[in-house]
């Protein structure tokens, strides 16, 4: 199977100034773009599309893959520094990342994010290179019924994100369930739940929802606080000069290694989620975060610890390689980004299909080499950006808060060019403000908003295929039975864990009196 000649050929193709330059530019633009809220990978690649016409195959791949990987990491920079996820997939990073910034550990959080991103990304790429065909075949086993149960497992697992006050977590999940149905019926295509507003027909978009709930709500909260303070005559204490001071905490190798469990969870979840078409990096990062929080209770994820950042970021970056699996194995683009990479291949006259391994082995190897190299570039370029942003995160709040508000407004517009998205963002900014005040967590809302529509679609498809037979449609294979069992198991276990947690909480009631408040679990 391995063709040494083609591999050497590929190295010649990749290791030249031209390819490396485009890779650098790709990562550079990607990280920069990813860090601006609302501008995601697909925007970036669309903007660069005319440019790829003029490049050779490796240059084009370098640019597109660099941009993709850069943007995946870049999103976390602003999530950590400003609580403003640059892209939806870094929303789960806000919980611990922003809290660390508030504690003055912004730089440490950014480094954790960078290193765990690059680690999970590289390992998932190796996984793809080694077992892409097997992964692809496994993914094919997931038909509508299996996907339905998989979503049920995902939702059951995410009970961890609902926090101590279960009813509030579930209420948030119910909101997500409801707003996820706004739009059109997945089977019939007729619009539903749109309140007679035609523009709601495409549903609520994820980007403005996340910018609103995560960024705008926090900015409103901080602005209201600042208004109180300035009424009371407080001065802005931080000096602008602080920005240029060099006293910063850093991340030791030992600290990096201490997150190995979180990174493994992220790697496993991300790789699995990435290879199934349609799920995406956002689901991966929330799932990884939720599972890590559940499995590692002693790490106290959500209180501003490295582990939370590591789990979420390794989760989303680990999807980068596996998302190409269906593309390489069957020519199916599993995600928007995979479609764009497939487009870049097509531009060079290479149709993504199983034949590619025989006809263009050199290009495949070049693609793999670029996948790995891009991680190294990300490490260097990402580091520069991270430090720069960490400094910006130290700007005085009266400067930062309005600036982020402006970026939230233009970012939610720029993501699709849809003016209504600005309104959606502001609406959810206000909803988020209220939810934060009332102590309702955001994470369950996002998760059900993402997963419930997929669950509905798969379930109805499974039943439609079986001709209206519910039992036969949903339990039609050993795999769906296993997944159903897993869902039940997770539910039972989480109930028991919650019970023991409660006992523990009672025992430590005194200790927890003054503990740091907690974004995700309040």
């Amino acid at each position: 199977m391995f063709q040494p000649d083609a591999f050497i050929e590929a190295l010649y193709l990749v290791l030249n100034w031209n390819t490396l330059m485009w890779l650098t530019i790709g990562v550079f633009v990607g990280v920069g773009l990813g860090a601006i809220p609302g501008l995601t990978t697909s925007t970036g690649v669309a903007l660069m599309l005319p440019l790829t016409f003029t490049l050779d195959i490796t240059g084009a791949l370098g640019l597109v893959i660099g941009l993709y990987k850069g943007a995946l990491f870049g999103g976390s920079i602003s999530a950590i520094s400003f609580a403003t996820p640059g892209a939806p997939d870094s929303a789960a990073t806000v919980f611990d990342g922003y809290r660390m910034t508030q504690k003055g550990q912004g730089r440490k959080a950014l480094l954790t994010s960078l290193y765990s991103s690059v680690t999970a990304d590289s390992l998932s790429d190796v996984l793809v290179i080694l077992i892409a065909p097997m992964m692809a075949l496994a993914a094919l086993q997931f038909g509508p019924a299996e996907r339905t149960w998989l979503m049920v497992v995902a939702i059951a697992l995410l009970g961890a994100l609902s926090g101590k006050h279960v009813a509030k977590g579930l209420f948030a999940a119910a909101i997500g369930l409801y707003i996820g149905t706004i739009g059109s019926d997945p089977m019939g295509g007729a619009s539903r739940n749109t309140f007679g507003l035609a523009w709601l027909r495409d549903g609520i978009s994820l980007v403005p929802l996340i910018i609103g709930l995560f960024a705008m709500s926090r900015m409103l909260e901080q602005a209201v606080e600042l208004i109180h303070e300035s009424r009371l005559g407080h001065k802005v204490e931080r000096k602008m000069n602080d920005l240029f001071s060099n006293k910063e905490d850093t991340l030791t190798f030992r600290e990096y290694l201490s997150n190995w469990r979180e990174m493994s969870i992220g790697l496993g979840v991300g790789s699995f989620v990435g290879m199934l078409p349609g799920l995406g990096a956002t689901v991966a990062s929330f799932l990884a975060y939720g599972i890590a929080k559940r499995l590692l209770p002693h790490k106290r994820l959500g209180t501003g610890v490295m582990g939370g950042v590591a789990a979420a970021e390794s989760g989303n970056n680990a999807t980068a390689g596996p998302t190409l699996v269906p593309l390489l194995a069957f020519g199916i683009p599993g995600s928007a980004t995979a479609a764009l990479i497939g487009g870049a291949l097509l531009l060079q006259g290479i149709t993504p299909s199983p034949r590619m391994f025989e006809l263009h082995a050199d290009v495949i190897y070049a693609l793999f080499t670029i996948l790995i190299l891009a991680n190294l570039f990300n490490l260097v370029i990402g580091r520069g950006f991270a430090f720069f942003y960490a400094k910006l995160g130290g700007l005085p709040k009266p400067v930062l808060v309005p600036t982020i508000m402006v970026l939230a407004v233009i970012g939610s517009f720029a993501t699709q060019g849809n003016p209504y998205d600005v309104g959606v963002m502001l609406f959810f900014g206000f909803v988020g403000f209220f939810m934060r005040r009332f102590g309702i967590p955001e994470a369950p809302l996002i998760i059900t908003f993402l997963i419930a529509p997929m669950l509905e679609e798969s379930m109805r498809r499974a039943v439609l295929i079986s001709g209206g037979d519910w039992l036969g449609g949903l339990l039609n294979s050993p795999l769906s039975l296993i997944l159903m069992g897993l869902a039940v198991l997770v539910l039972v276990l989480s109930y028991r864990m919650r019970f023991s947690e409660r006992l523990e909480a009672m025992a430590h009631e005194q200790d927890s009196q003054g503990a740091a408040d907690d974004d995700a679990t309040r």
């Binding site: 993914a139 094919l140 038909g143 089977m187 019939g188 487009g343 149709t351 993501t415 060019g417």
Partner: protein, 328 residues
């Protein structure tokens, strides 16, 4: 702060200037050659989808030749929303002076047909040209008894077959099945990827796919049973798909294609629309760079000019209306 401001912008600039410069170099800087009345200024070109999709790629590619062939530039505007009809509503709000064009596709037409109270009337559109078209191909797995039309027919007469695909492609198949008097369960998917993976995993019997999707599956894992459109596949594509792909007309069915129309506000003067169509035809067929780029993207130019395209558009809407009713 000022020090930071400069550092920030220079940081970004240094990386992006190279890109910006190359982008500029790409667009032909030819001088305006328009001597007539129209066009006197840039044309707003509306894409009813967000950046990054197929329509967006078409628009961005064609617009690189705009300056040379129209003497003015095209301002591309992505206006997604409301099942791609928000852009259409915007088009109808603009003056009918030929300075706002829209790249349509089956999606907005389907939205307008499926809604009870659509934003726009699907016929409120003057098609200046069709620039391309989708064909819906029926794909079956190689070892399936449905791998040829007779086998498929026999199976479908026995019990309804299950076919996966996006709504527009399913409508193309429904059009044929209706003519053949066959029953099927049409399973709609929002993403091609999921439909293909369910087909490959054997969870559904058949797949409705475009030619470019089929290229990833056929011949290793599937066979094209029929091209349900009224246009044959390009020779090289047909060859890659195993050759001799049956087309609807072979079985005396009336096939249906899904064009990509470019059009204007319905009140736009015919002379302007015709002039646009003429220049666009030169751009798409005689230009050197644009057709080559489209070819490299795996896209195919299937041009139909004004007024033929506009006359066909009316029939297209009717055909799609019928096909959508068949899906339910």
């Amino acid at each position: 702060m000022p020090a930071y401001a400069t550092r920030f912008s220079s940081l970004l600039r240094s990386g992006l200037l190279a890109l910006a410069a190359s982008c500029l170099a790409l667009s032909p800087m030819a001088q305006a050659d328009g001597h007539g009345d129209w066009p006197e200024r840039d044309i707003d070109f509306i894409i009813p989808f967000g950046a990054g999709g197929g329509s967006d790629a078409w628009a961005r590619t064609i617009s690189t030749g705009a300056q040379e062939h129209f003497g003015v530039g095209w301002n591309l505007q992505n206006r997604p929303g409301a099942g791609a009809t928000l852009a259409w509503e915007y088009l109808l709000d603009q003056p009918a002076d030929g300075y706002t064009a829209m790249l349509s596709s089956p999606t907005p037409v389907m939205t307008a047909l499926m809604e009870d109270d659509p934003l726009v009337d699907p016929l409120d559109f003057k098609a200046a040209a069709y620039i391309s078209a989708f064909r819906s191909l029926i794909v079956a797995s190689n070892d399936s008894p449905m791998a040829d039309w007779d086998g498929l027919k026999a199976a479908a007469e026995d019990s309804p077959v299950v076919i996966a695909g996006t709504n527009a492609l399913l409508a193309g198949v429904a059009n044929i099945f209706d003519q053949a008097g066959l029953e099927a369960v049409y399973v709609p998917y929002s993403s091609t990827g999921e439909a293909v993976s369910d087909f490959l995993g054997g969870h559904v019997d058949l797949l409705a796919a475009t030619a470019s999707t089929a290229l990833g599956i056929v011949p290793e894992r599937g066979t094209v049973v029929m091209n349900t459109s009224d246009i044959a596949l390009p020779e090289d594509v047909e060859e890659q798909l195993g050759g001799n792909v049956p087309i609807a007309a072979d079985f005396d069915f009336e096939g249906m294609r899904f064009p990509r129309p470019i059009g204007f506000h319905p009140d736009t003067p015919d002379a302007v629309v015709a002039e646009f169509s003429r220049r666009l035809e030169t751009l798409l067929t005689e230009d050197e760079s644009v057709p080559a780029m489209l070819d490299r993207m795996g896209e195919e130019v299937i041009f139909m000019g004004f007024p033929e395209a506009n006359e066909d558009y009316v029939r297209l809407v009717e055909r799609m209306r019928t096909a959508i009713e068949l899906l339910d």
